[in-house]
């Protein structure tokens, strides 16, 4: 089980800020593929993954990063702070 968090327009498209996901995905990309296969709203959120950033246990990561040992995955658009 892994906590998956969504922010900004990704959160809005999927319709929830956080969920627990049962997965055996090896990488972030594998997890995204599982989510996209689930429902249309996930497909809409991940339609263009160039516009999606990912953090693993609150550190920026890549879609190729492995999920082994990770407890929290977050997906969000490019950041616009400052």
């Amino acid at each position: 089980m892994i906590d998956v968090l969504y922010f900004a327009w990704i959160r809005e498209r999927i319709g929830l800020p956080k969920e627990r996901v049962e997965t055996t995905a090896a990488t972030v990309a594998d997890l995204v593929a599982e989510l996209v296969a689930r429902e249309e709203r996930y497909a809409a959120a991940f339609a263009d993954t160039r516009a999606v950033r990912v953090a693993l246990d609150q550190e920026l990561a890549e879609f190729t990063s492995p999920l082994a040992g990770v407890r929290e995955v977050a997906f969000f658009p490019p950041m616009t702070g400052g």
């Binding site: 922010f7 900004a8 658009p77 950041m79 616009t80 702070g81």
Partner: protein, 147 residues
């Protein structure tokens, strides 16, 4: 002295600048930056800033630690708000203190460039045309290359 505050409530630029300068030690140079919501000629009625509690503090602290080490700052500060913010209100500020002005200026610009695209904040603008998430600019990503 290192200060990171992620908060919903407003802050006073004057009071924070004054307090920062007082505890900045022997620094000859203090630079402060204040970022505010522009009203875009009246088209913007409000802004809302979403953030990632937990990661935000970690990311901002890491960016500030790097700036303090790289430019030998005697003090550094980042305050960043989240939640609803009205036009004209302060969004965030950074402050840097160093022996010489070049270091204080460079560190402040570095902090701004990194906070802009590496700290987990997302701005949503509410205006006469509806609500829209602010898009990241290529220029913001490019700005990181100079560091």
């Amino acid at each position: 002295m290192r200060t990171v505050r992620i908060q919903q409530s407003p802050f006073s630029y004057g009071d924070e600048s004054d307090a920062f300068a007082r505890q900045a030690g022997p620094a000859g140079a203090v630079v402060t930056f204040l970022g505010r919501v522009r009203d875009e000629g009246g088209r913007l009625s409000a802004m809302e800033i979403e953030h990632y509690p937990g990661m935000t503090e970690r990311a901002v602290t890491a960016i500030l630690d790097e700036a303090m080490a790289r430019w030998h700052l005697t003090a550094g500060l980042v305050i960043h708000r989240h939640g609803p913010i009205a036009p004209g209100e302060a969004i965030m500020m950074v402050a840097t203190a160093a022996l010489h002005r070049g270091e204080a200026f460079e560190a402040a610009e570095f902090l701004m460039d990194y906070l802009k695209s590496r700290a987990p904040f997302w701005k949503k603008e509410f205006g006469s045309d509806g609500a829209e998430w602010v898009a990241a600019q290529d220029a913001d990503e490019d700005a990181l290359r100079r560091w």
